[in-house]
C-alpha cells in the first residue's frame, strides 16, 4: 500500500493536465486549479521525501509483478530530491506564467502541457526501468514540442522544427540502444542489468552500447559537441517555457547519465576518461558562446553548457566526493537557471529589446530587479557563500583527489568567465544612461516575486549547506555503492 506513494508525483500532474484540458477556456478557473494542484503535488512529494529519509527507498512493483519481470518505479533519495526540486520550480513557474503569457496562449492548453511536462520529468526521475525511461522521455518531449511552438510565430516554428527532428532522431537511437542491451543482457530493468553486466564475457560490446546511450543522453543534456541545437531553440519560446526547459530538460539528461553510468557501465575506465575530456570542452565552449553574443537570452542559454560540464566532471571522476558535487550542483543549477530565465524575461520586457547594446540604466528605475539579478549572477558563478560555491568546491576537491589538475584549472577559469559574462549583462543593462524604451506594450509586467524566491532558496542552499549536505552525502554513498541499489530493488 505504502509503495503506491512512488507513483503520486507522476499521476497527480498527469490527471491535473487532463482535467485542465476540459475547461481550458475558463481561464480564471484553470489558473486557480493549476496553482492548487501543483502546490498539492509539491506538498505530496515533500511528504514522500520525509518518508524516504526515514524508511529508505520506496519501490512500486506495478500490478504486483515482482521486480525483474514487471514495471517498477524506484523512489530513492536521489530521485525524490530531484522531484521535489522540479516541483518547487514548477510551482513558482505557474505563478510567473500568469504574468508573461497572453490570454490566448493560456487558452491553447498551456497548463495541460505544463502538467504533462512535469509528469514526464518526474517519471524519468522515478523509473527503475530503461525502457520506461524512454517512455517518460517521450512524454515530456511531446509536451515540450507543444510548449515550444505555443504562440506559433514564424521564428518559433522554424527553430522548433529543428528541435523536434533532433530529439526524434536521438529517441530512435535510444530505442535501438535498448534493443542492443536487451539482446546482450536479456532484461530492461536497471537493477537487473547492473547485476548481469558483471557476467557478460564480451565487455567490448557493452562499452559500445554505453557510448551509444551516452550519445542519446548527451544530446538531451547539451554536452559538447552535441549542444548545437540548444541555443536557438531555447530562446524562441515564451520566458516561462524557456525557464522550464533550461531548468528541467537538460538536467534530466544529466540525471540519466548519472544513474546509468554509476550503476551499469562502470567496468570501462576509458568511458569515464572520455567524460572528463568532454566536461572540460563543454566548459570552454560554453563560456566562449556566452561571451560571443550581445543577446541576453543567448548568454543565459550558453551558460547552461558549462554547468552541464561541471556535473559531467563530477560523474566522470567516479568518486563519492565527485558524485556529491554533481548532485549538489544539479539541484543548485536547476534552481538558479529557472531564476535567471525568469529574470531575463523581465529584463527584456523592461528594456524592450534583448540586445545588450541597446539597453542601459535600468537600475535607476528597477533597483530590486537589478540587485536580484546581481546576486543570482554571483550564485551562478559560484562566489561563496552561495550554493554554486558549495557544488564547485566539492567538484574541485574531487578533481584534486583524482589528480585532474588540468580539469580543475579549466573549471576555475570558466567560472571566472561565467562571472564576466553575467557582469557584462549587469553593466550594460543596469548601469549607464537610461535608454528610451522603444515600445512599451500594454501587457502587464512579468512578476518578480517567483525569481526572488528562487534566488532566496539558492542563497539558503549555500549558506545553510550544513543542513543539506548530509542528504547529499547519503545520495553519493548510495551512488558509489551499486549493490545497495540492486539489493533494494531485487530484494535478495
Amino acid at each position: 500500500m505504502i509503495s503506491n506513494l512512488a507513483v503520486l508525483p507522476i499521476v497527480i500532474p498527469l490527471l491535473s493536465g487532463i482535467i485542465a484540458a476540459f475547461f481550458h477556456k475558463k481561464i480564471i478557473l484553470v489558473r486557480f486549479f493549476s496553482k492548487f494542484m501543483i502546490i498539492f503535488n509539491l506538498l505530496a512529494s515533500v511528504w514522500i521525501g520525509f518518508y524516504i529519509m526515514e524508511n529508505g527507498s520506496v519501490i512500486l512493483e506495478t500490478g504486483d509483478w515482482k521486480a525483474p519481470y514487471g514495471i517498477i518505479l524506484v523512489a530513492d533519495q536521489l530521485s525524490i530530491i530531484l522531484v521535489i526540486t522540479t516541483n518547487v520550480i514548477a510551482s513558482l513557474a505557474v505563478f510567473y506564467a500568469r504574468s508573461v503569457l497572453s490570454e490566448r496562449k493560456e487558452h491553447y492548453y498551456f497548463y495541460t502541457f505544463f502538467f504533462l511536462l512535469i509528469s514526464g520529468v518526474s517519471g524519468a526521475f522515478l523509473t527503475g526501468d530503461l525502457f520506461n525511461l524512454f517512455v517518460f522521455y517521450e512524454v515530456f518531449l511531446m509536451a515540450s514540442y507543444a510548449l515550444i511552438v505555443l504562440g506559433g510565430e514564424k521564428i518559433q516554428l522554424r527553430e522548433s522544427f529543428k528541435y523536434v527532428i533532433l530529439n526524434l532522431f536521438s529517441s530512435m537511437l535510444f530505442v535501438t540502444t535498448v534493443a542492443f542491451l536487451y539482446s546482450v543482457v536479456g532484461t530492461v530493468n536497471l537493477a537487473q542489468i547492473a547485476e548481469r553486466v558483471q557476467d557478460v564475457e564480451q565487455k567490448g560490446i557493452l562499452t559500445t552500447i554505453g557510448i551509444l546511450l551516452f550519445f542519446v543522453f548527451a544530446s538531451k543534456a547539451a554536452i559538447f559537441p552535441l549542444y548545437y541545437w540548444m541555443p536557438k531553440s531555447y530562446i524562441v519560446p515564451n520566458p516561462v517555457v524557456s525557464a522550464l526547459f533550461g531548468a528541467l530538460l537538460t538536467k534530466v539528461g544529466i540525471y540519466s547519465i548519472l544513474r546509468v553510468f554509476s550503476l551499469i557501465f562502470v567496468h570501462e575506465p576509458m568511458v569515464q576518461q572520455l567524460f572528463l575530456w568532454l566536461a572540460g570542452l563543454s566548459m570552454i565552449f560554453g563560456v566562449i558562446g556566452a561571451l560571443s553574443t550581445y543577446n541576453v537570452k543567448l548568454i543565459i542559454v550558453y551558460n547552461i553548457i558549462p554547468a552541464v560540464g561541471f556535473m559531467l566532471m563530477g560523474i566522470g571522476l567516479l568518486s563519492e566526493t565527485g558524485y556529491a558535487g554533481a548532485v549538489y550542483y544539479l539541484v543548485h543549477d536547476m534552481i538558479i537557471k529557472a531564476a535567471l530565465f525568469m529574470l531575463i524575461g523581465l529584463i527584456v520586457y523592461r528594456a524592450g529589446t534583448s540586445d545588450l547594446r541597446k539597453m542601459g540604466g535600468l537600475l535607476h528605475r528597477y533597483p530590486l530587479l537589478g540587485w536580484t539579478f546581481f546576486i543570482s549572477s554571483l550564485v551562478l558563478a559560484g562566489i561563496p557563500p552561495f550554493s554554486g560555491f558549495i557544488g564547485k568546491l566539492l567538484l574541485l576537491q574531487a578533481g584534486f583527489e583524482k589528480d585532474q589538475i588540468m580539469l580543475v584549472l579549466i573549471g576555475l577559469g570558466s567560472s571566472l568567465l561565467i562571472l564576466l559574462s553575467m557582469i557584462r549583462i549587469f553593466i550594460h543593462a543596469f548601469w549607464g544612461e537610461e535608454q528610451e524604451v522603444a515600445a512599451v506594450s500594454n501587457k502587464p509586467a512579468p512578476s518578480l516575486a517567483p525569481s526572488v524566491i528562487l534566488v532566496l532558496i539558492s542563497v539558503i542552499l549555500g549558506a545553510g549547506a550544513e543542513w543539506f549536505y548530509p542528504f547529499v552525502e547519503d545520495v553519493s554513498n548510495m551512488l558509489a555503492d551499486r549493490d545497495m541499489y540492486i539489493n533494494s530493488v531485487l530484494k535478495e
Binding site: V149, F161, K162, V175
Partner: protein, 113 residues
C-alpha cells in the same frame, strides 16, 4: 533469418539517414519514419526470431516467443505514430508561415530575435 532482418534494418537506417540530411522538409519527415521502422524491426530481431509460436507461457507449452520485445515495439510504434503526425502538422505550419520548405532558407540569423 536474424542476419537478413539486421541487414534490412540497416538499409532502413541508411535510407532514413540519407533522407534526414536532405533540404526538403517532407523528405526529412519521411526519413524519420524510415528510421523508426528500422529501429522497430531491430527490436524484434534482438528478441530472437522464432516462427509459428505464440508469445504465451502456459502449462504444456514449451515453445514460445519472448513477449517483451513485442510489448516494447507496440509502445514504440504508438509513440512514433503520434510524433510523426505532430511533425507533419508542424512542418505544414512551418511551410505556410515561412513560405519555404527548404532548410537552407530556414537557417535564420542571430539578430532576428
Amino acid at each position: 533469418m536474424e542476419i537478413l532482418m539486421s541487414i534490412l534494418a540497416g538499409i532502413l537506417f541508411a535510407t532514413g539517414l540519407y533522407n534526414l540530411m536532405q533540404k526538403q522538409i517532407l523528405r526529412i519527415v519521411i526519413g524519420t519514419g524510415l528510421i523508426s521502422h528500422g529501429a522497430h524491426l531491430f527490436i524484434l530481431t534482438m528478441g530472437k526470431l522464432k516462427r509459428g509460436a505464440p508469445p504465451i507461457l502456459d502449462e504444456g507449452v514449451g515453445n514460445y516467443v519472448d513477449p517483451l520485445p513485442q510489448a516494447l515495439i507496440l509502445t514504440s510504434i504508438v509513440i512514433s505514430f503520434g510524433v510523426t503526425s505532430f511533425l507533419l502538422a508542424l512542418s505544414y505550419r512551418t511551410y505556410v508561415l515561412n513560405k519555404t520548405d527548404n532548410m537552407e532558407m530556414l537557417r535564420g540569423n542571430e539578430n532576428d530575435q
